[in-house]
Amino acid sequence: MARKLQADEWLFGATVALALFGVIMVYSASAIVAAGENHTQYFYVARQGLWTLIGLAAMLAGMRFDYGRLRSPAIAYGLLALSVVLLVGVFAFSPVNGARRWIRFAGFSMQPSEIAKLSLAIFLARFLERRAGREADFWRTFVPSVAVTGLLALLVVAEPDLGTALMLAVVCTVVLFTAGAQLRHMALAAAPALMGLAGLLIFVPFRMRRMTAFLDPWADPQGTSYQVVQSLLAVGSGGVHGLGFTEGRQKMFFLPFAHSDFIFAVVGEELGLFGALAVVALFGLFLWRGMRAALRAPDRFGTLLGMGIVTGIVAQALFNMSVVLAMLPTKGIPLPFISYGGSSLVPTLFAVGVVLNISQHASASHGSALAPVFEGGSPAAPARRAAATQPRPSGVSTMRSLLRGEARG
């Protein structure tokens, strides 16, 4: 077809809005910290701006090739292998804040766990597409998916970075569910995972402390609950209207990681309930349009990949906000798009580019927003017809109807 491909404008808009909003908030949250570290107040925001430009370029790049090529074994397994190598590689570097999460070279640093998230989504989408119709096969479909996820998750936990490991598990679960894996299999996998989680909580002392700190933050506001308490104070001070942009006080070294993991607290303090809810709403819009694009993908690979990416990002966002609002114990994971740091932002934006890529095929093949996705296949991607004509993943219909209801509601 000669028709120009059209990506989902809402998804694109929400992503760019979140990323630009992030630049602004990083400025407000980091200026004091930067000055305190003898940099100019623009030190962090300049870097974040640069990373955002690079990230948006990566996003555009992610939209401009045939996403189907991602399912080639070279890319899928290559990325997976690269992730494993890098995740092992982090142990060659000295820890930062007690964790080995970064690989540094030539003045830049990257977090392999961010690459691992995308790699996992691509691998699972490819693998489950090929296992279409045999989702119920415990040993040959379910176990390999969980095994690969588990391998990456274990490496990430070892950094240690339990939060990102949990995100990997969420991606795996969502993709498996979308693909139509047996719920009892997932329950079977969940049991040891939960036990492992419990073990990690019990045998690693700082996790247990954080756990109890989250349950009663005011018991020890100067000690283990310090971060939670400072975060709550920031959010609570904001009130409905907020103190005003750059007027926040908690970033004056009261709130740790104000420009990274706890940037949402600064949003709440400076922009108030309206600002914070707007951010939540943008993630909501992102989730809706992202899932819509995924479910309308012309093939099973696109659907599963889109679902994996979108839910991975949104789950991380909700996780981060929950930590800030003391609904979950403190875990060091950034707020996607907004928190400072290129090693999270660039891979995330690239991944969104892939989802936008998928969305443009969906809109190209179906004029009507609510037309069935999996019937007929995509004229733009005849090569994927075989995959698309395979039996529809069972989880999809449920979700589609849910989405439809949401769209209509």
Partner: protein, 665 residues
């Protein structure tokens, strides 16, 4: 997502207030900025109370590197136990506490010594200490403050809010490392200055004479008040024994009690003027009208006896203090009118003098009178008054029948010296000018021919009335045969009175008649203060012979005599011209213990020579300066070390002198 939204709403609405408050609490440092407590000055601007800055020292033990060395140095300078200080510092250092008091309100010398140690982590803070440079002078008027500088008595208490001022607040925004990055706040509003109507010199004379009289008569206590009848201004208000407000904590509540307006006494004969003025005002009698005084009079229930007998004119009856005459006049007026005049003269109501705890006295309404009350009330029984009330009543007569509310705060100035409040005493007519004039003439006869001949003055005409009342024994509720209150209240000069003086002595031993114990005190006081107040003598100086021995009883520590100076001045310039007398000051304590008297002679009209104050205590120096009218700038504690100007240089009243004190060995 819904949960996140709900949680946000919860935190930012219903939890907002307390979270925000808690956040501000950690983000703000509020540093109170102390306001300096205001001065209390006499009517001529001489200091009666001042707050001085003194240093206190604290340590931040976390910054002290060598605790033992620091403790040994500090212990030597501050004269405290080294071991316990070291233990205190070490304990605080271990607990990572950043604040330990080392010494509060130290003197200049110690302060310099501590600074000289140059110990890291030891810091000074300036605190205030209230000083009463004149010691016990006017203690019952000025009052005193507690440990926290709150006024607990006198005008210190009454004007506590104005004197305290408004402490400033420096609100400092700090970051988590307690570094300030923004501050806002209000500057402290220093306390207001209180200018009293008290004249320090008059007060001093009154206190000295009162104390001497109390000692001489072995009275339990005494009170004296001097009022300018034209303005209602209280020039002096004294109680004996007095106390030193610099050390008020150790003083009994009895000594602190301001008897001049907190105690009521049965006035006796001084109260007779009420019946006389009522009768004159109502034209029931003229001063020369005859009154039959048979020596006793029957009232319902009893017979009142009298020592004055015969047919007396009203003037003679008052001069002889006839009870019968006063009761007859009271009867002519009748209960209602008598009561009305009592109240019009201010008895039974508070005078409104600006001191705490004033009592209204005891005047029962007519409805509660006994049938026999008419035999008591006109002669000053069955009523309770305060010395200030009585002085105010005589001031009314002295001021042509117009009562000006007695008061002792002249004006209130703000810290910049601007007058923010000026006393505007209420005034109203009580009796006609004619009645007042007639009464003055009658009262003068009391001092000339009556019971108060001891109240006559040198060079001035005087008028007044004695009073002797038996005290009611609280156990028997009957008049005591041994306990009396002797009093005299009067004014001078008679035609244009400049001062009303009341002297009340409680339970004098031996001679207890008001004429014997209180009238001489009146004359001692009036003879000294009238020349000082620039009052023209209106009488031949030899009116009263023999001349009394002046300054006969020098106070053991210090004597000052305005009168001696006045006499000296008169000798130079002729007896008819009175001059403002500068008090001579004699300081009689020397470190050697030998009593010596040093007199500082006048160097000119208002100038005098700077005395050598070195080696004297703060209190001594303050007294000398107060008497000479020099404004004292004192720094430090202990004995005077340095003085500017130098000994013998010419100084003028009102000039400020700088004295440094120290505790050198």
């Amino acid at each position: 997502m819904v949960a996140v939204g709900a949680r946000l709403t919860y935190l930012q609405t219903s939890q907002h207030e307390w979270l925000a408050r808690r956040a501000r609490a950690q983000q703000l440092d509020v540093e109170p900025q102390a306001a300096v407590r205001g001065l209390i000055l006499d009517r001529q601007g001489r200091e009666l109370a001042r707050s001085v800055g003194v240093d206190s020292f604290f340590a931040d033990p976390r910054e002290i590197e060598d605790v033992d060395a620091a403790a040994s140095g500090l212990a030597r300078v501050l004269k405290v136990d080294q071991t316990s200080l070291a233990a205190r510092l070490r304990e605080a250092k271990d607990a990572k506490r950043g604040f330990v008091w080392l010494a509060r309100k130290v003197d200049e010398e110690q302060s310099r010594a501590v600074e000289g140690l140059k110990i890291k982590g030891v810091y000074p803070v300036e605190e205030q200490k209230r000083r009463y440079p004149n010691g016990a002078l006017a203690a019952h008027v000025v009052g005193f403050v507690g440990l926290d500088d709150k006024g607990l008595a006198g005008v210190e208490q009454m004007y506590d809010a104005a004197l305290t001022g408004e402490p400033g607040r420096l609100v400092v925004d700090t970051d988590a490392k307690r570094r300030a990055f923004e501050s806002a706040g209000s500057a402290p509003q220093d306390g207001r200055t209180l200018v009293l109507t008290i004249d320090q010199t008059v007060q001093y004379i009154v206190e000295r004479e009162l104390t001497a009289a109390v000692e001489k008569s072995q009275a339990k206590s005494g009170a004296a008040v001097v009022i300018d009848p034209r303005t209602g201004e209280i020039l002096a208000l004294a109680n004996a024994p007095a106390f030193d407000p610099n050390d008020a904590a150790g003083v009994s509540a009895d000594a602190r009690r301001n008897a001049a307006l907190q105690n009521i006494y049965e006035p006796g004969s001084t109260f007779k003027v009420v019946a006389y003025s009522g009768s004159l005002e109502e034209k029931l009698i003229k001063p020369d009208d005859k009154i039959e005084c048979p020596g006793s009079i029957s009232v319902p229930g009893r017979v009142v006896h009298d020592h004055a007998r015969g047919t007396l004119t009203a003037t003679e009856a008052l001069a002889k203090s006839s009870n019968v005459a006063a009761i007859k006049l009271g009867m002519r007026l009748g209960n209602e009118r008598l009561y009305d005049y009592i109240r019009r003269f201010g008895f039974g109501s508070k005078t409104g003098v600006e001191l705490p705890g004033e009592t209204a006295g005891l005047v029962r309404p007519v409805s509660k009178w006994q049938p026999g009350s008419i035999g008591s009330v006109p002669i000053g029984q069955e009523v309770g008054v305060t010395p200030v009330q009585m002085a105010a009543a005589y001031a009314t007569i002295a001021n042509d029948g117009v009562r000006v509310a007695p008061h002792l705060v002249r004006e209130v100035r703000d810290a910049e010296g601007k007058v923010v409040e000026q006393s505007q005493p209420e005034s109203h007519r009580v009796v006609s000018a004619e009645t007042a004039r007639e009464l003055r003439g009658m009262l003068e006869m009391v001092t000339l021919k009556g019971t108060a001949r001891a109240a006559r003055l040198e060079g001035y005409t005087a008028a007044g009335k004695t009073g002797t009342a038996q005290k009611v024994d609280p156990k028997t509720h009957a008049y005591s045969q041994t306990k009396y209150v002797g009093s005299f209240v009067g004014f001078a000069p008679v035609e244009n009175p400049a001062a009303v003086i009341i002297v009340v002595l409680d339970e004098p031993v031996g001679a207890h008649q008001g004429g014997a114990v209180a009238a001489p005190v009146f004359s001692e006081i009036a003879d000294q203060i009238l020349p000082y107040l620039d009052v023209m003598p209106d009488n031949a100086p030899d009116a009263k012979a023999p001349a009394r021995q002046l300054a006969a009883a020098p106070a053991p520590a210090l004597t000052a005599s305005a009168q001696a100076a006045a006499r000296a001045a008169k000798e130079h310039e002729g007896a008819t011209v009175s001059t403002v007398a500068l008090p001579e000051v004699a300081v009689s304590t020397t470190p050697g213990g030998e009593i010596s008297e040093i007199v500082y002679a006048s160097a000119g009209e208002r100038a005098l020579l700077m005395p050598d104050l070195r080696g004297r205590s703060v209190r001594d120096v303050a007294r000398v300066c107060a008497q000479l009218g020099l404004e004292l700038e004192a720094r430090g504690e202990g004995r005077a070390v340095r003085q500017t100007p130098a000994v013998g240089s010419q100084v003028e009243a009102g000039q400020s002198v700088r004295i440094e004190f120290g505790r050198g060995e």
